[in-house]
Symmetry: C2
Subunit: 330 residues, 2 copies
DNA sequence: TTAATATTTGCAAACGTTTGCGGTAAATTT
DNA sequence: AAATTTACCGCAAACGTTTGCAAATATTAA
């Protein structure tokens, strides 16, 4: 089937292409009579403007690029859901690529985004990306970049992230409230700044406000590692009465071990984690957690992006606040 | 910063645009000397071909569209991961839109895909989409559509899906092997064909090969409903010894109740489900399940798409087979 | 009636590529 | 030395839009 174009419409109506084009977008120059004729034919011929031609002509694409480490992730899921929703409302589409935490993929994805001339990029850095040159290249092309979650340290970038320190501190507060004597606190990959931040904030807070509480700190890279770590410390003579899991992944490992040992929560051991809520609610009793909402982060990122597009630069680091969600585990 | 284009390169090198274009893609007509010169300048000026111009000219976009009910879904996650991986390998990018199980959104998304002139669409129907006209429109535009998971009944479409009946039958087999006397089988939304298929296959198989086994069938719409249903039947005098959960969502509800009642698995009750494996492995003991791999489905869908693009039509319904993954719950 | 203004439409260039075809100069063959 | 082939390269059209400007027509004012 032949593609309907402005040209075709123009021919059939004995009008010029420009008139048809203007009629279709309600340009005041065009008379109501012709407008109606044009619209009628366009509808009956199922005219759909060619996005590429428009973009070529107008040099703007109405597409946002998104880079996430992995789509299959509870947190990024909801982040994506949020910007997808907003994008639709604003007439943008989303192009989502995953880096799989691999710097090379990340570079490749950015290349695609440059070639596609996306209107903007939402980027979450791969775990070990150091070289930010590529992102400079985006800016040189006037493609705004909003970093989220895993963000660069440099302040010249626009970034939104969770209030990592606050999360950790809220958790610490709750642990102190509970009157914990001995805490096992499990954090993620020590190379990641998110782990560092959370651990540092947690540790400082505990030392300052509950110096007598004994804390054991552990770093793990996977839920299996977390399970093993929990198990190892659990078998020791000196038992802990509270466990803190920095992420869902860690919580999963911890809960595995808790189920294996048939530990009573919260009687024997209290549990608290940082999460978006899905995993903590899988268990009985439900796990108390400090909420980090990917959804809200997405909303925030989007307004930043829009601001960036409209009003030039907005070089700020915004954080979305955390709140405690009470389960039955503490 | 000025955008580097073929024109710019041509001017600087005192060559024609066509020569530059050809040099960049190793056309045999161009001498090695000029090729080198062109490549050198292109590199130093960071030339990136304008995708829109190319697409306008060549009428092909190297972008696939994907419609899923929700990105935040363990199953679709892995499906997307698979086609994303394949797409990258084949030089395609992905545009992912979610319908949120809403027919209107679905229509809108398809419109975007048409306007973007995607090379093809992977579509999972919304739960209650009946009218397939829009998809006809895609075909009219020579945009191949590969349906996955929730697919139309009509045989004129290309579709890939899980072997739903097989899944249910494998589960039934295992239940019979276990020597179950009384089974509680929980299925999803009865309006969905996937629920119907699985239930029908399961029921038929049980009636034929284990007529003495008493089965109770329930349909639920959410994990909370599943939890309540499990709870209700558990409190009855006539206890069941095995429970079958058709989806992860249902399994979550079941496990909630099992934890609440502190039921011993598999001693008191055996558990089996259909899943991609993430949720079943959260628990101890791990849950046995019939694996439905979104990842494999994605791979399959992609080869179908490629076949569709290259060799015209392939109007078949392919299914990816299921296999039993043994946990400790049966 | 003529000039001036308002209304409606069309022309043509531009966006950055790709590609069929034709042209020139050098290399090869007769 | 003339004729033919080969190796390179450029011209120009096309893809489907948008948009500044000019042109044509209709309307109003003088």
């Amino acid at each position: 089937m032949m593609n309907t174009t402005l040209k075709l419409l123009a021919q059939q109506l004995q009008l010029s292409i420009s008139t048809v084009s203007r009629a279709l977008k309600d340009h005041p120059d065009i008379s109501t009579a012709t407008k109606e004729k044009v619209h009628a034919l366009a509808n009956s011929l199922d005219y759909e403007p060619n996005a590429y031609a428009i973009q070529l002509r107008t040099q703007s694409s109405k597409i946002f690029g998104v880079i996430v480490p992995a789509i299959s992730n509870l947190f990024y899921d909801s982040f994506i859901a949020a910007i997808e929703e907003e994008s639709r409302k604003n007439g943008y589409a989303l192009m989502i690529l995953q880096s799989s935490n691999n710097t090379e993929n990340e570079l490749n994805n950015l290349k695609i985004f440059r070639q596609t001339r996306v209107s903007g990029v939402f980027a979450c850095l791969s775990a070990h990306t150091q070289n930010l040159e590529v992102y400079e290249k985006m800016s040189n092309r006037d493609i705004p970049v909003v970093f989220f979650d895993i963000v660069p340290k440099d302040n010249k970038y626009t970034k939104v992230r969770m209030a990592d320190e606050r999360c950790a501190i809220i958790a610490a507060e709750k642990i102190i409230e509970r009157g914990a004597k001995h805490v096992l606190a499990i954090f993620g990959d020590p190379a990641l700044s998110i782990s560092q931040k959370r651990k540092q904030a947690f540790q400082q807070f505990m030392e300052k406000y509950a110096p007598k509480t004994h804390c054991t700190y552990v770093n793990t890279h996977s839920s299996t590692e977390a399970e093993i770590a929990f198990d190892k410390h659990y078998s020791k003579t000196q038992k802990f009465d509270t466990v803190f899991a920095m992420t869902d992944e860690i919580l999963i490992g911890v809960m595995k071990s808790i189920q294996v040992h048939n530990i009573k929560v919260p009687k024997d051991i209290g549990v608290i984690s940082i999460s978006n809520g899905f995993i903590p609610n899988l268990y009985h009793p439900t796990i108390s957690y400090v909420e980090t909402s990917g959804f809200e982060l997405g909303k925030l990122a989007f307004v930043q992006m829009l601001a960036n597009i409209k009003g030039g630069k907005t070089l700020t680091e915004l954080t979305v606040d955390a709140r405690f969600v009470e389960g039955k585990s503490m």
